[in-house]
Symmetry: C2
Subunit: 234 residues, 2 copies
DNA sequence: AACTTTAAATGTCATTTTTACAATTATATT
DNA sequence: AATATAATTGTAAAAATGACATTTAAAGTT
């Protein structure tokens, strides 16, 4: 077989928008880029798609390289393809966003780049169109988390209802009523109450919960209505 | 500036999943592919992204070339990037799905390919991974149309409630209660009742409605809940 | 041991939304 | 004038939501 004639070939990259939650703020994992152009500037973690890889593989490889983690929640955000988004040469980027339990994160032993967590609101200036990617990823996160049980991916296996609420409030930059929030969350039937309590934050202590894995996978794509009108909060 | 060294460059294409509605069935616009490989086989309308184009431009150009239509509703579905999805050479495809008013469609005067509408259920075998693209597009359509006022894009400017209901029933392959359906639709406040009736289908005739354009754009991204549990229908 | 403090957990009521289900109306045709 | 057909409208029970306050567990203090 021959090739398609007279067509433009271009580089294809993946870039990962990696969200984490430290118990207080929603955070973004960024790196100092290790090569030209824009070497030393803050950037999303990315890499070129290799000849034998599909996009998911490239994204998973990139994520693992930075965090050491595997089996992380990740989904394709969208493809960014402005002709001049990379000044060096035309590069299409397929953006993926990932949600990780920040406590499981272990900085990779490498000198290629330095990685750092930034509160989403205090992220530095980013190269290329990466700020757009982050903005779109945040919008997607808010969208999906309002109707699907997504944010659990940001928490450890055991978590308390108050911790979960703080997470939701960080994501939506809004406050929720304690009573209604816990009722809503518990009514999904996804949570299993544990015997132990978390005792660090309060005198009384809050019961830990775990996800019911069966129900979680079954209802992951169902419409669960965690946040009523996410476009119209505060 | 130099170029990134030792990386694989590849072709980037766009493919359009074009949905239409003829008043009865949800349909898909397909073409007979005009060049090798797989010349003469049924395929989605697509084309290569040009050197000076971004992805949206390429998709819009492709759609206009086939349908003669501009300003059509279109959104990026996802990027498909298996290394061997095109046997000729590695080609990434960014899929877009489009919703058009089938009545406005005018077959383009061209010999490059023949285009034809197929009921979604009776679509022929497609080349490459195009069947996957269609399946994903249908899933996305069902997903979005359940919570956003999307399906209006498939109807003419004037339409009746019964017509709208037939469309929803075609999309979800399910039946809905007439009374609840019309109440739900009217409660969005998006519809403006017209004075004229549609008289072809029934003796009594059904009133035409039009979209309130202001409210439509304002509420396009709001959560409107047209279909309660689309994942769990008949 | 009793008291204080702090955050977790739980309860109620009014309102809105959803669901299930049936009767009435407009108009062309007979 | 009667009939047939599809459009339109109504209603009551159940479920979900939103606004709001009190009780409870446990550590720390007196």
């Amino acid at each position: 077989m021959t090739r398609y004639s007279r067509q433009t070939r271009m580089l294809v990259a993946v870039d990962c928008i990696i969200f984490g939650f430290d118990g207080q703020d929603l955070k973004l994992l960024l790196i100092k880029r290790g090569f030209e152009p824009e070497k030393g500037k803050w950037s999303l973690m990315g890499g070129f798609v290799q000849a034998d890889e599909d996009l998911e593989q490239a994204a998973a490889r990139t994520l693992t390289k930075l965090t050491g983690l595997e089996g992380v929640y990740m989904e394709q955000l969208t493809a960014f393809g402005s002709p001049d988004r990379d000044p060096m040469e035309r590069t299409l980027s397929v953006a993926y966003f990932a949600l990780i339990d920040i406590n499981q994160y272990k900085q990779q032993i490498t000198d290629e780049y330095k990685a750092e967590w930034f509160p989403l609101k205090e992220a530095p200036k980013l190269i290329f169109d990466h700020a757009n990617m982050v903005a779109e990823a945040q919008a997607r996160l808010r969208y999906k988390a309002a109707i699907h049980p997504l944010l659990f991916e940001l928490l450890p296996t055991r978590f308390t209802i108050p911790q979960l609420q703080i997470l939701f409030e960080a994501v939506y930059d809004a406050g929720f009523d304690k009573r209604n929030f816990s009722r809503k969350v518990l009514s999904t039937g996804l949570l299993v109450k544990q015997k132990e309590k978390e005792r660090a934050t309060s005198k009384r202590g809050a019961f830990y919960y775990k996800l019911d894995k069966r129900k979680y996978s079954a209802k992951f794509h169902a419409f669960l209505n965690f946040v009523s009108d996410p476009g119209n909060l505060k």
